[in-house]
Symmetry: C2
Subunit: 234 residues, 2 copies
DNA sequence: ATGAAGTCCGAACGAACGTTCGGTAGTTCG
DNA sequence: CGAACTACCGAACGTTCGTTCGGACTTCAT
């Protein structure tokens, strides 16, 4: 799945790209202008390079080579290397949240909604591995205004998860630390990128089921045997 | 807790430091030579700088400034920046494994041994925050021989955890994917460094109890009420 | 006292870094 | 046509990077 065009922020924002998307052409076939499509192409290559070598370890020359555009030409599309990282992180975060909001509409059962959260996260992770690793690994890289904005989106995402767990608590009359539960769950899910091997590991749906099972019921069985046990490894 | 001297590997190893530790002095009070003590001091500062700025983002000049030693002087103690990272990672891993092995001697109960593992990991993490973040965050940074050696120690550590879970499985007649369980548990524990706040979060022992609880029993209650529930957040 | 070994530094090396400048095609549009 | 604008590039800018070199001061066994 390709990165779409980085969305343009409301005018007046200090972080907006210098140019607005214009979807008009005399024979306009797509909504995105050529500028937007090229930017998206560059962002995709950038996500891959940042994923491979890390943000600091990746050079603009690496990116130039990967995208087939000259070093100077790249700067036609963004102002700095840091803005590149910002655009990738913002788009990825907004995009996974949008996906999630849509999926959560499908259920009102608290436990199932938690399962939907996990499944959405892992499926998006698998479908956008490079960008998601950049999101998880370069968590503290951005500073100042751009960093603050991405951190705000991250809080929004965490908050959704926190609220899902609060609903679950209320529905089942439970007591546990919501903070630790959320952060443990995110730990399980985000550590993903350090070990996932498509030749060994199951698909996103199956992994999400197993992870939800561990998070909700643990690896030990309850006394009554009705929990969904993960299948044994062959 | 300070980094001790990086241990010297058997002679003939291609990665050994160029100099062996000699504990002898006429009035010898410590086992470590001056060389060893200075190296340990530099390693400690290096861990802190790498923790703050990342390995690639940290410069030898940053390290020179932090340790109060001249840029050229640093190279008296190691051959390259990469060796620095290697020494930090190797020492930290060996050290946490040694701690663990000693603690595991205290119990033969499978469930308690898993709890000991979690407790040891989190306590070591809290006591050596900088070095442990460098270990977790710069996981893929080292290449070639040094990377292979650290990866081998990592496998050893993972293997210990995997075997603990296999013992638990056998003892309780369970079925679950050991691989996913180990990696989920490591995810919970290693994500730690991205969120731990000493002003908010409990001490290592309490956090370890809660995390073990989630991992073993999940956040949902068993039908009989005998699980150790985490206290509600005020 | 002497020499070897250990400890440390100022200055510099070439390479690589992110970014900018001036310019050249190509397209759009009155 | 020609002015305005978009898309892009070669070459260079100044800075910072990891590392090295030659030497100076200290320590210590003889």
């Amino acid at each position: 799945m390709a990165l779409e065009t980085a969305e343009i922020r409301p005018s007046g924002s200090p972080l907006s790209i210098r140019r607005a998307a214009n979807g008009r052409k005399s024979g306009g076939e797509t909504v995105d202008s050529r500028f937007d499509r090229q930017l998206a192409r560059v962002l995709e290559h950038a996500a891959q390079i940042f994923c491979e070598k890390g943000y600091e370890g990746a050079s603009m020359r690496d990116l130039s080579r990967a995208s087939g555009m000259s070093l100077a030409g790249l700067y036609h599309y963004f102002a700095s290397k840091e803005e590149l990282l910002y655009l990738i992180q913002k788009h990825t975060f907004r995009s996974i949240i949008d996906n999630l909001r849509e999926r959560l509409g499908a259920s009102t059962d608290p436990e199932e909604r938690v399962r939907i959260f996990v499944e959405n996260h892992l499926e998006y992770f698998l479908a956008n591995k490079e960008a998601m690793k950049v999101l998880a690994h370069e968590d503290e890289t951005l500073k100042d205004a751009r960093g603050a904005e991405v951190r705000a989106i991250k809080r929004e995402y965490y908050r959704i998860c926190f609220d899902l767990l609060e609903d679950l608590k209320k529905a089942k009359g439970l007591q546990f630390s919501g903070r630790l539960a959320v952060l443990s769950l995110f730990g399980m899910m985000n550590w993903f990128y350090t070990w996932h091997n498509p030749r060994i590991d199951a698909n996103a749906k199956a992994l999400a089921d197993e992870m939800s099972g561990i998070f909700l019921y643990g690896v030990l069985p309850r006394k009554n045997g009705n929990r969904k046990a993960a299948p044994a490894k062959p």
